[in-house]
Symmetry: D2
Subunit: 375 residues, 4 copies
C-alpha cells in the first residue's frame, strides 16, 4: 500500500462530458492529497501497447474542468487482447498484445492503473486484474446511464441537458407551425436520456426501448391533443426504441440499413406516422452533439468525486474495484459486479409513473383511454 | 396619416427567433408612442380569410421578448390568392380568397397591416398593396439571411449561435476520437449560416451552395491535417451545398429522394467520403432546432428596432415599404425591391477570404496546395 | 378521499426556479390522472385572505416548464396569523386573519391545499393543518438546499449552475490579470451552493458558514499558488460565511451595516485581504440572479415529481405531510419533521473531503501545511 | 515588405472575450496564408521589457477560439515609458524602459508588432511607432464599445449577452416578488452595454452616463407601472451613470468612497430610491463576470477578422494603423485617429429613440408625461 508511488490513468471507449474532470481529480488528489505521481496514457489501452505515455503535473490539468472530450484521447481499436497489429506488408492482424501491456506497465514503473471507461473498457480492465495481475481501479462512464452497479455516471446529466435544450427549441416551432416534431436522442439499449429529457423538456410522447409502442397509440395522442386545441406534438425517441413486434415492421424497405446506419430510427418512425396519420413531420437526430460540450455542474462534481475516490482506492491498494454512486455517496464495488449487464428503465418505476401522470404517452396506452384523456 | 387608429399584425412562413419580439415592439410602440391600437391576426394570412383576430394590449405582449416562436401562429396554407377551401363534402379546392381578405380587413376596422414574413409572405403583402390597395408595411424575416435589400434579418444570429454551439460540442468528440464529423445547417440557397458558424466554431471545412466542392479537395484537407498530427476534422455543410457537377452525382441511388426528404445532404456526403477516403464519419442534421429557442440579444434588438420602425411607417402612412437594416441604421425600402431575389454569399467577399486565411477549406481549392498547407 | 374534487395551490416566500414546474405538475396530474380541478391562489397566503383565486386549466400551465418565477406570484407579507391589515385611515395593523383563511378556503369549495414554500411557509401550512384543520400538503422549496427532511429541493441545481457559470467567467479574467477574484453566492445559514459551485467551478478557496476561516489561511493559500506560478485565485464566498471569532472582527467600521445590507460580506472580506496581503481584489455579489432563469433539467424533473406526488397525497387524503426526496425516490414525511431546523454542511462529509483532496481550501487549514502544499 | 518574416503579438489592458480568437487568427493567417512566424509576448508590454516571449505554432492556438481570457496574459503595470522597476533594495522606481523595448524587439528578430488593446495600450503602441520607429499594427479592444474609429469591438457582444442573461433572470424574480431590481453593468464613460442590454433584456429603465437622470422620473415610472398592475420594475445602470447635478448629490456620506470602490453606484441609487419612494430594492453588480466566458459567435467572428487583417497589414508593411469595422467591412485607420477620444451614446440616436418608443425610460423624461404613459 505504502509502495504506491506512480499511478497510470487512461480513458477508453466513447466520449463523455466529464472525462477530463476525472483525469484532473485523479492528478490533483494524487499529488496534493497523496504525494503520488500520475502517468497519463494516450489513446486508451492502445497507449499501453504502443507505449504512449507522459507524466501529468498539476499545470497539465489546469483549466480542464470545463473542457469536453478527453485530453488523453481514446481509441476504437481498444482491446489489447485483440490488438490490430499492422504488419510491415500493411496487412492488419489481430494479436493478443496483453503480454506487451504487462511489460509496458512495468517499464513505466506503474503501481496501479485507473481505467475510465464503459462496459467494454471495464471488462478489459477486469481481465487485466484477474488474468494479468495488473492492479486496476475502474471509473464507470456512459452517456446512456445504463451501467450497472452505479446509480448515475458522469456525462449523463450533460447529455440530458443538451437533449432538453433541443426540445425547448423544437417546442416553439412545433407550436407556431402546428406540427409533429421528433427528436431522436441516444440510448440504444435503455431509455434514460429520452425519459429524463421528455420529463424536463415537456415532451408529449416518449419512446424508449423498454416499452414497445404502437403507431395507433401515438396517433390517438396526436388526435386527442388536436381536439383540445393543441394541433402539435413533440416526440422524444431513444435510438433503440422499437414498435411492438420489433423493427422488422420496417423490414420490407431496402433503405432501412442505410438509414439506420447514417440517419436514425426516427426517420422511419416519421415516415410511418406520415403514411398512417397524414401528418407532416420533422425529425432531428441529435447524435454526437450529446457527447460533447462543457460538462454541467452535476457531471463536474460527480466526475471529481469519482476521480478522488479512484485515486484513494489505488493508493490504498484496493484493486479490482470500481467507484460507484449509491444514495449520493461514493462507494466502491468489484468491477465484475458492474460489467456485462445493462441497467434498464423499469416500466413501472416512479419516474415513468410521474411522466404518465403529467400526460406523457409511451405508446403502450390503451388507445381509447388516450383518446379520451385531456393530455 | 392622422387617420391611422388601428393596425393589424400577422406573421407568415417559417418560424424564426425574434418574431415575438417584433410583435411586442409593434404593440408597445403603437400604444406607448403613437396611441394606436393593434389587432393580432392568427395563423398568417389565413387568419384574415377565416377572421381569426383579437386586440393586443400591453399585457398580452408581456414576457414575449425571450420567447421563441410566434404568439400569433403561422400557417403553411398561407396564400389567400390560392386558398385551400374545404368544401362541405370534404374536398379541398384552391380558390382566390383575396376579396374576402379585403372585406375582413375593413370589417376589422384596420387602417394598416404589418406583415412579418419571408420572401413568400412579402410577395403576397406586395400584391395586397398593389392589387387590393390594402395599406401594408413589411418586416423581413429569414433564418437564412438571404433576403435581399436588408443586410441582416432577425433570427439569423440565433440560428448561427445554435449552429456554433453544436460545432463546439462536436469538436471535443472529433478530437478525442480522431474522427471526421459533419454538421448540416440550414441554407438551401445560401451559405450564410454555414459560413458564419464555420468561422465562429472553428470548422475545418465549410460547404456552401455558392461554392461547389470536390471530394478530392475535402479528402486532401483531411490528409493534410493527419500529417500535422490532427487526425480529425469538423465539416459544416449548408443543406443546399452540392459537389461540382451537382447532386446528380448521387443520382444512381434509389434511397436519395428519401434521404433528401427526411435526412439531409450530409448523409450522402458522409457516405461518399467514407467510400472514397476510408473514413468513419458521423453526420448530424440540426434541422428545426435552428428555428427555435430564446432569441440572442442581437436578434432581440434588431427585431425590436424593426417593430418600432414598422409601427412608425404604418402610422405615417408610408405603405408598400419594408423595414431594412443598412449600415447599422434602420431604413425602409419598397417591398418590390426586396422580393424575388436571393442574397447569396459572394465567393470573393471579405468573410470568405478571412475564412481561407485561417485555413478553412471550401472544397474548391487546388488539391496540391491544400496538400502542402499547414491547416 | 373520494370526496376530493377541488384542490388549491399557492406559492410562498422567495423565488426559486421550478415553482412554475410544480404548479404545472399539480394541475396536469390533478386533471389528467385524477380528474380533479385546481384553483390557483395568488400572492401566497395573502391570496387566501384577500380571496384572489382562479381555476387553472391545462391551457393555463402550457409553456410553464421553462419559465422562472411563479405564475401565481408570492408575497413578503405572507403570514395570515399576523396579517398586515390596512385600515381605512391608512394605518397598518397586524391582525390574526386565520379565521378569514378558513372561511375563504370553504367558500372556494376546496378539499385540500398544496403549499409550495420554504421553512416559513411550511410552518404556516403546518399550523393551518394542526390549528385550523385545513387539509394541507407541503412541497419544500429553497434555493439554499438547507431544508431538513429532503435531500434536495428544486431551485438549488439552477442556482448552483448560475454560480458555476459565473465562476467559469471569473476564471479567465483572474488568470489573465493575475488577480484574486471573490464571488459571493447565496447561503445565509448553509454553504451548499458555495460548496457545490466551488467544486464544479474549480474554486481555489470556498468559505461557508459551517467552517469559520482565518485570513492567514487564505493568504497562505494565495502565496502558495504564487510560488507555483499561479498568481491568481478564485474564492467562493457564501453570504453567511464568517471568520473565526465572527463578523464582529469588522465591527469597528461604521459602514458595515450599510454594506451588509446593500452589498455583501465579500466586500468586507475583500477589503481585509487587501489590507493584510497587499492584493488587489474584485468582488462580485451574484444576488437575485441566482433565483431567476429557466430551471435546469434537474430542477424541472424534481419539481415535476414533487408536484405529481403532492397531487397524489391531496387526492389520497394524506394531509399534514410534505413531499421529499430520499435516495432518488419521492416519499412523504410529516411537515412538522421538516420545519424549524436547518440542514447544514457537515465539515467532515465526503463532499468537503473530496474538495480538500483536489486542493480546495476552506480557510481552517493549518497554515504551514497550506504553505507547503502544491494546490 | 517581403522582408517581414517574424511578427510579435501581445495583449494589453483589461480582459475581453475574443482576445484569444485574435491571437489565434494572427497565428493561423501568418502561418497558413503568409508563411510568417509569430512570437507571442507575455503579460503585455512588460513582456517586451522583461523579455518573456516564445514562438507560437498552430498547435499552440488549437482550441483557443472558445476560451475567454488571453493565453498571453496581460499586465496592469503596462506602460514601458513609465516602467515600475524593482531595485535590488526592493524599492520600486518608475523608469523609461522604452530603449529596452526597442532593443528586445530587435533581439527577438521581429519585423512587426501586433498590439491588441484598448485606448491606453494603443496610445503606447502609437508612441512606439512614432517615437521609437517600432513597426506596429493595432487591434482595438474594449468591452464598453466606446473606442473611437471602429463601429464595434470584440468583447462587447459577449458582455451584452451576459448582461442580458442576467436581466432575464432578474425579471422573473422582480415579477414574482413585486420588486424593483437594479442591475449594474460596465460602462464608466459610455452607456453602450446598458442601452443594448436594456433593449434586449426588456428593462423598464436604463441609466447611462450620457443622459443624466432624476429620481423623480424614475419613481414616476415605477408608480405608472404600478397603476397599470405591474408593481415591479427592472433598472439597468451603467457604472458611470449619474443623476442630474452629478454624483456629488451623494457626497455627504462617508461610506461613498468605499462603496464606489468595492461596490457600485447602483447601491447608492438603490438607497436613494428606497429613501424617496418607499421601495424595497435589490441591486446586483455584475462586475468582472462581463469580461469572462466563451465569446459569443459575433465576437469570435469579429476577432478572427481583426486578426486576419492585422496580420495582412503587418505583412504588407502598413504600420501605424489599426484595424476597424466600418459598415460590416474590415478596414484600417491610423492609430492616432482612434485614441484619446471616447465614442459616446448620442442621446438622439435611433437606438435611444427605439428604446423610448417601446417604453424604456432614461430618467430625463418629463415626469407628468411618464406619469400618464402606459409603459
Amino acid at each position: 500500500m505504502s509502495t504506491v508511488r506512480r499511478i497510470g490513468v487512461l480513458t477508453g471507449g466513447g466520449d463523455a462530458p466529464g472525462l477530463n474532470a476525472v483525469i484532473r481529480a485523479v492528478v490533483r488528489s494524487c499529488r496534493i492529497a497523496h504525494g503520488v505521481s500520475v502517468i497519463g496514457i494516450s489513446d486508451g489501452f492502445i497507449g499501453l501497447v504502443e507505449m504512449k505515455a507522459r507524466e501529468l503535473a498539476l499545470a497539465d490539468v489546469s483549466g480542464l474542468l470545463v473542457r469536453g472530450g478527453t485530453m488523453l484521447g481514446t481509441s476504437n481499436r481498444g482491446n489489447p487482447f485483440r490488438y490490430a497489429f499492422r504488419r510491415p506488408d500493411g496487412v492488419e492482424e489481430l494479436v493478443d498484445a496483453s503480454a506487451m501491456v504487462k511489460k509496458n506497465f512495468e517499464k513505466l514503473g506503474l503501481d496501479a492503473l485507473v481505467v475510465i471507461g464503459g462496459d467494454g473498457s471495464l471488462s478489459i480492465a477486469e481481465r487485466f486484474w484477474r488474468e494479468l495481475g495488473i492492479p486496476v481501479v475502474g471509473v464507470p462512464k456512459t452517456i446512456d446511464n445504463d451501467l450497472f452497479a452505479t446509480e448515475y455516471t458522469f456525462g449523463f446529466a450533460t447529455a440530458r441537458e443538451t437533449a432538453t435544450w433541443a426540445l425547448d427549441r423544437l417546442h416553439s416551432t412545433a407550436e407556431s407551425h402546428h406540427r409533429v416534431m421528433l427528436l431522436e436522442v441516444m440510448g440504444r439499449d435503455s431509455g434514460w436520456i429520452a425519459l429524463h429529457a421528455g420529463l424536463a423538456g415537456g415532451g408529449d410522447v416518449v419512446l424508449i426501448p423498454e416499452i414497445p409502442f404502437t403507431f395507433e397509440a401515438l396517433i390517438a395522442k396526436f388526435r386527442a391533443r388536436e381536439r383540445r386545441g393543441r394541433p402539435f406534438s413533440v416526440v422524444v425517441v431513444a435510438e433503440g426504441a422499437a414498435p411492438v413486434g420489433g423493427n422488422q415492421v420496417f423490414a420490407g424497405e431496402d433503405a432501412v440499413t442505410g438509414w439506420k446506419r447514417l440517419g436514425g430510427i426516427s426517420y422511419q418512425i416519421a415516415r410511418e406516422i406520415e403514411a398512417r396519420g397524414g401528418y407532416e413531420i420533422r425529425a432531428t437526430v441529435l447524435g454526437h452533439i450529446q457527447r460533447g460540450g462543457t460538462p454541467v455542474p452535476t457531471d463536474r462534481i460527480l466526475a471529481t468525486r469519482f476521480g478522488v475516490e479512484a485515486a484513494r482506492l489505488a493508493v490504498a491498494g484496493e484493486f479490482g474495484r470500481m467507484v460507484a454512486l449509491h444514495n449520493d455517496e461514493i462507494v466502491s464495488v468489484p468491477i465484475c459486479e458492474a460489467i456485462g449487464r445493462v441497467k434498464r428503465v423499469d416500466p413501472s418505476c416512479q419516474l415513468v409513473q410521474a411522466a404518465r401522470s403529467v400526460g406523457i404517452v409511451f405508446g403502450d396506452e390503451d388507445i381509447d383511454a388516450v383518446d379520451l384523456s385531456e393530455g
